[in-house]
């Protein structure tokens, strides 16, 4: 089982921090225009949100695993709901590598695998080094072509 790059935690923590800032702004706005919210309560709420975000990011990194098995791409992920997904290579429609601005700044990228399904129609593997992302995309593409079924939708 392969794990993600440890730096992905920074992205997830940054995301959580942004959410905490939004929460802080919302609470301050509430304080200004509606009911008075003690500054201490705001600080406490934001601190709790931050701690939760960091804890969530660390935990998510710990549980995120993926593997190329004989017939399928297998992934395990999720903090609240733990999900184990198998994406058979036959079902792969196409594979993308994506580099978001924050990801690029941290030298990371994602691979997105698309299927024709309705749920989990796109499976994203975040936190890969660009080299690994490219090689994974390549491998998946080859495996998908190799196992092509004749019942494509």
């Amino acid at each position: 089982m392969e794990t993600l790059h440890p730096r992905i935690r920074l992205i997830w923590i940054a995301r959580g921090a942004i959410a905490a800032v939004v929460l802080a702004v919302a609470l301050v706005a509430l304080d200004q225009w509606r009911v008075t919210v003690p500054p201490l309560a705001i600080a406490a709420a934001v601190a709790v949100a931050l701690v939760l975000a960091v804890g969530y990011a660390v935990r998510l990194y710990q549980v995120w695993r993926f593997e190329l098995q004989d017939d399928a791409l297998y992934l395990e992920r999720g903090v609240v709901t733990f999900v184990e997904t198998a994406v058979p290579f036959v079902r792969v429609q196409h594979v993308d590598t994506q580099f978001g601005p924050i990801e690029r700044a941290l030298g990371l990228s994602s691979v997105v695998v698309y299927t024709a399904g309705s749920r989990n129609a796109d499976v994203r593997i975040p936190g890969l080094t660009p080299d690994r992302a490219r090689s994974l995309q390549e491998t998946l593409r080859e495996l998908a072509v190799e196992s092509e079924g004749d019942d494509a939708v």
């Binding site: 017939d71 999900v83 198998a86 749920r119 129609a121």
Partner: protein, 521 residues
């Protein structure tokens, strides 16, 4: 190559403007009125331009459409990617002998190509032509990168396809909805979508009898005999609750009636037939729908029964493709709207070839889980009532504790309606009390399998298994999931699904057997 043909499209825009123009503009009567003829002329001009710029063509391997006056768009749709072809005719189209043809492919957000205002004969011809060519390409290019199918002798299914495909011929009738079944269907089905009808009627009649406020006067009048308030302003909470309850009842009754009317109008004269390897259906009273579904595009088959239908022993059969259906925006097509439960299950078995399922239930632990879940919901309701009693004059909050009585039966009913069956070639999943759905998924249609465990499920050692197929499921039709089974069982079925997908694909590559039978009745 077939000759290029024009769709008789030009009519739409000016007619729309003639209809809409005055009604929109006479709100501000005055100089704006002068715009109406200009709009009409522009509309007619645009319509004519659109008509001349709209072309479609049936080629040997693709169906091409190009359209657009200012921004041109041309599309080529390969036949083997077409999911289903639907024809619909509203009142206007029927008067003028026209039809709307929609061609669906998998994926994407909507219908791939829509030909509006095609003559009826032309629409029929197009559908037959597309069906014939689809069948033809299916034979020759089913497996483009291997020559297996070419070197083998034609299999049984290929032979039947050849027998039936040329020109389509007259379809063989498979199922005919009787008037009794139609009425039963109308009475026993409740469509939430119909809830907008009462609102629409209210808005339509808006100016006529609504009182001063937002709430029409008759709503308050109707509630008064039951203890409703005389007016909204200054009313106590008790009478307001009565008003809400009475209005809800009224609304439900109206919704139920409009839902029944909608059902009759939509499913009147439902007939399902077979033409070659395709299902063809037609239905509708005012607006006629007809279409064809290639059997090889069917992803899964579902039997639906709501409590009323179970009571009278009836059920419906749906087939699901990856395209979009003519109404409701989902990919579910009704194969048999309503028929006796035994018959419907027999149809489902004949159609998919699944053995009679012996359903297994999730462990009893699951029922305890639902009990706890519903208890929490009930507690929230009571808490809300207590909160309401604090801020208002409403003081009998303890009456809401009655909801706790409903918790055990609700948990039990949810539990007993869950079931799954791991067959040789199919997975059968059943769930739901209000709309019980039994879905048959052939292993070779599986897209992905996921084992999901929430925090609570992990504590109990349970898991849910979601089996995804290629279909455009909507909110009302989630992806088929086996809920709350033992983690070990879930992992086992997860692996079984994956393995049988692989072996079924190998099998299919060898024999070209669809595994689906068109003559299911």
């Amino acid at each position: 190559m077939l000759a290029l043909q024009h769709g008789a499209t030009g009519f739409s825009v000016p007619v729309l403007l003639v209809g809409l123009g005055p009604s929109v503009l006479d709100i501000d009567i005055g100089p704006l009125l002068a715009l109406v003829p200009i709009g009409l002329v522009a509309g007619v001009g645009y319509g004519i331009a659109y008509y001349y710029r709209f072309t479609y063509e049936v080629t040997a391997s693709t169906f091409d459409v190009s359209s657009g006056v200012f921004a041109r768009r041309s599309r080529e749709i390969p036949y083997r990617r077409i999911q289903n072809v639907d024809l619909s005719q509203g009142l206007f189209e029927r008067l003028f002998g026209l039809a709307v043809v929609s061609i669906e492919t998998a994926g994407g957000g909507d219908t791939e190509a829509t030909l509006r205002f095609v003559s009826e004969d032309e629409a029929e011809r197009l559908r037959a032509e597309i069906r014939r060519l689809t069948a033809a390409t299916g034979e020759s290019t089913a497996d483009p990168d291997s020559d297996r199918s070419a070197s083998d002798e034609p299999t049984a299914s290929e032979r039947t396809r050849e027998n039936h495909s040329p020109g389509g011929g007259a379809p063989t009738l498979l199922f005919d909805l009787e008037v009794r079944e139609l009425l039963l269907y109308a009475v026993t089905s409740f469509r939430w979508g119909a809830a907008v009808f009462p609102i629409a009627i209210l808005v339509f009649l808006g100016g006529a009898d609504s009182g001063p406020g937002l709430v029409p006067a008759f709503v308050i009048d109707a509630a008064r005999p039951f203890g409703g308030p005389d007016a909204l302003e200054g009313a106590a909470v008790g009478p307001l609750l009565v008003l809400a309850a009475v209005t809800a009842v009224q609304w439900s009754v109206f919704t139920y009636v409009s839902s029944a009317i909608y059902t009759v109008a939509n499913y009147y004269g439902f007939r399902l037939g077979r033409a070659g390897e395709d299902f063809v259906y037609e239905r509708g009273l005012v607006q006629r729908y007809s279409g064809s579904i290639p059997v090889e595009k069917v992803q899964s088959v579902s039997v639906t029964e709501n409590p009323l239908q179970r009571l009278v022993g009836y059920a419906g059969l749906w087939v699901e493709t990856a395209g979009y259906g003519p109404d409701s925006g989902s990919s579910n097509q009704s194969a048999v709207p309503l028929a006796g439960t035994d018959r419907v299950y027999r149809f489902a078995e004949n159609l998919t070839g699944v053995e009679t399922p012996e359903f297994r239930s999730p462990p009893r632990l699951a029922r305890r889980r639902y009990f706890v879940r519903y208890s929490i919901v009930a507690a929230v309701i009571v808490a809300a009532a207590i909160g309401l009693s604090r801020v208002s004059t409403f003081d009998r909050w303890y009456l809401t504790a009655v909801v706790f009585v409903a918790v055990p039966p609700a948990a039990h009913l949810k539990y007993v309606n869950l079931g799954y069956f791991v067959g040789a070639d199919h997975l059968v999943i059943r769930s739901g009390f209000w709309n019980r759905q039994t879905t048959v998924i052939p292993y070779y249609r599986i897209q992905t399998v996921s084992t999901r465990r929430s925090v609570f499920q992990r504590r109990l050692g349970l898991a849910s298994l979601a089996v995804d197929t290629a279909s455009s499921r909507t909110f009302a039709w989630g992806s088929p999931t086996i809920y709350d089974i033992d983690l070990e069982t879930a992992r086992e079925i997860h692996d079984t699904g994956r393995e049988r997908l692989q072996s079924a694909l190998r099998e299919r590559a060898r024999t070209d057997d669809l595994g689906l039978s068109v003559d299911f009745t």
